[in-house]
Amino acid sequence: MAQGISTAATGGRVALDKLGVILAVLVAAGAFLLPFATFRANRIVLGEPRSLLEALAPAEAWALLALVVAGGGVALLRMPIRVKLAASVGVLCALLVAVGRAGTFLTPEGNTFARVSPGSGFWLLLFAFALMMADALSRLALSPGKRLAGLAVAAAILGAILVSGLWNDLSILKEYANRSGAFWREAGTHVLLAFGSLALATASGVPIGIALTRAPGLRGPVLNVLNIVQTIPSIALFGLLIAPMAWIAANVPGASAIGIAGIGAAPALVALYAYSLLPVVSNTVVGLDGVPRQTVDAATGMGMTDRQRLAQVELPLAFPVILTGIRIVLVQNIGLATIAALIGGGGLGVFVFQGIGQTAMDLVLLGAVPTVVLAVAAAIVLDALVEMSERPGVREAHA
């Protein structure tokens, strides 16, 4: 699998890596053709491109260029996977540090209006080396525990950079500095919306799924209704819940006291919950259906009651599939929670839509980047958990 073109190193010819050829082209374009950073006199005027050599102090610029070219070389040649992994991680860290340095270098002393943001060249380089890292990681086929450790290391590096103030001169962090209070409030709302709806969906979806396997007649109609809910566009569902929630707030005693209102987080939470039900319910059904018939028979034959069989045999065996449903829901909800901002529900979408409204892309990024990071991290963590929960031998039953 890990072989490149099989021109092998016979006759002194150098063996090239197929993916490396593509990466090298991307790296060359990112390093030499596209701007590394963009400079703007204020936050909404058009940016001026700055190449890699213009964006950094000469010594740093040449050092970075040398590192990037060396990284591209490692990508291009056939080398052990661990070497490739180390090279890609090294260059990625250097890029993250350099982009912060570029912000400091390009911002005139004491100018609070100027904005420096990463340019297309930076993004392309980041993409190319992230691809190289992803390739190395997928070939290494790391155990779930190691993947989690890797994620923790990446989070630590990111946290260290943020705390150190290295990126403080970048536009996205200037947007953050102007509204740090709002950022953490909305981020909290975002997490609450995504996880709260997930908790509700799990607490009710799993029992519904169990019920459907016990009453097959209900299965088709219930799953159909949940399917149709999924086809309603999110912004419409969010909007449609405003009226009934307002009605409940006005007419049910005590409802408004616990935070139910027509506008705000409550309709968003309900909408996310509605979208979450289908994956949880259908995966519970599929998971329970996937328990081998002989196993169920054996459990019954040994004298287990229905409840004992469910708790001790069926649910443990179906657990990985149910967890996969939860993974789908969590990742989907982290993305969908951005839409809540449209109906005043808060969340990181607030910055995305404000940014779109003001054509301030830095503000869009302030909302979008944390959302993407959160979603990717959630996917990695839950994929690892799903894999850990699949004990050997059990996996085949669900394959």
Binding site: M1, A134, R139, I232, P233, I235, G239, L240, T338, A375
Partner: protein, 246 residues
């Protein structure tokens, strides 16, 4: 079956009637409005919005199908096998990007309007089709593949005459998934000024008009359900022909 068909035919008829003459439905939506607000969205022609919406979705899904099936073919051939693990992890991670983030991030490069929406729909549509094409192409029975080679088919003949036709129902399921996602995501395109049915919903959100939100949502939802069903019907017909149950 026939009862379901009747329900679908009625849904389609109502949908078409609404798109052609939305004003005729004023009495239905009027009770939902407050303070004499208009019951039917008339700033733009409903039919034109629907056609735009469908056109955008169709263009994005066709482009996504061509690219992802092509990619799946490449990584399942011997010379592209190297890219298989990477393409799997990209597909996996790529799916975690929220559509609204893709949409917003495409705006700086492409400006407002249909272009960033097309890009978001296209990127978001790639992954389900790619996953399914990969599954379909790798799940062809070894005996069938062996027979094709043994009878003297070239690589290309085997792909075109055997592997792709056999993978078709699974690929179609991926296209169906992408289409339904794209139909819903295209409404979000209206936040970056693409002219889709999302315009109606956004107008409703901005003016606090439930009637607008409901008609926009219902039209998109009905389109999605009908298209979903049509795909499902086609997949089942194909699968039945091959003696499999879908």
């Amino acid at each position: 079956m026939s009862a379901g068909l009747v329900v679908r035919a009625i849904a389609l008829a109502i949908l078409l009637a609404f798109l052609v003459a939305p004003e005729a439905f004023t009495p239905v939506f009027a009770p939902l409005t407050e303070r004499g607000a208009p019951a039917i969205y008339t700033q733009a022609d409903m039919l034109a919005l629907a056609m735009n919406h469908l056109g955008l979705v169709a263009a994005a899904v066709v482009a996504a199908t061509i690219v992802s099936v092509g990619l799946a073919i490449v990584v399942t051939r011997p010379f592209g096998a190297e890219f298989l693990p990477l393409s799997r992890s990209i597909a996996n991670i790529g799916q975690t990007f929220p559509p609204i983030a893709v949409l917003a991030l495409a705006v700086p490069a492409l400006g407002f309007g249909a272009a960033p929406t097309f890009v978001a729909l296209f990127l978001y549509g790639l992954l389900p089709i790619f996953e399914n094409a990969l599954t379909g192409l790798t799940n062809v029975q070894p005996a069938v593949r062996e027979a094709a080679t043994g009878m003297g088919m070239t690589q290309r003949q085997r792909l075109v005459q055997v592997e792709l036709p056999l993978a078709l129902p699974v690929i179609l399921a991926g296209i169906r998934l992408s289409t339904v996602i794209a139909l819903a995501t295209a409404t979000i395109g209206s936040t970056v000024a693409a002219s889709t049915l999302g315009e109606v919903i956004i107008a409703g959100l901005l003016t606090n008009n439930v009637a607008y939100i409901l008609q926009g949502g219902l039209v998109v939802g009905a389109l999605a359900v009908l298209i979903y069903d049509a795909f499902l019907w086609l997949e089942r017909a194909l699968a039945r022909r091959m003696g499999r149950t879908a």
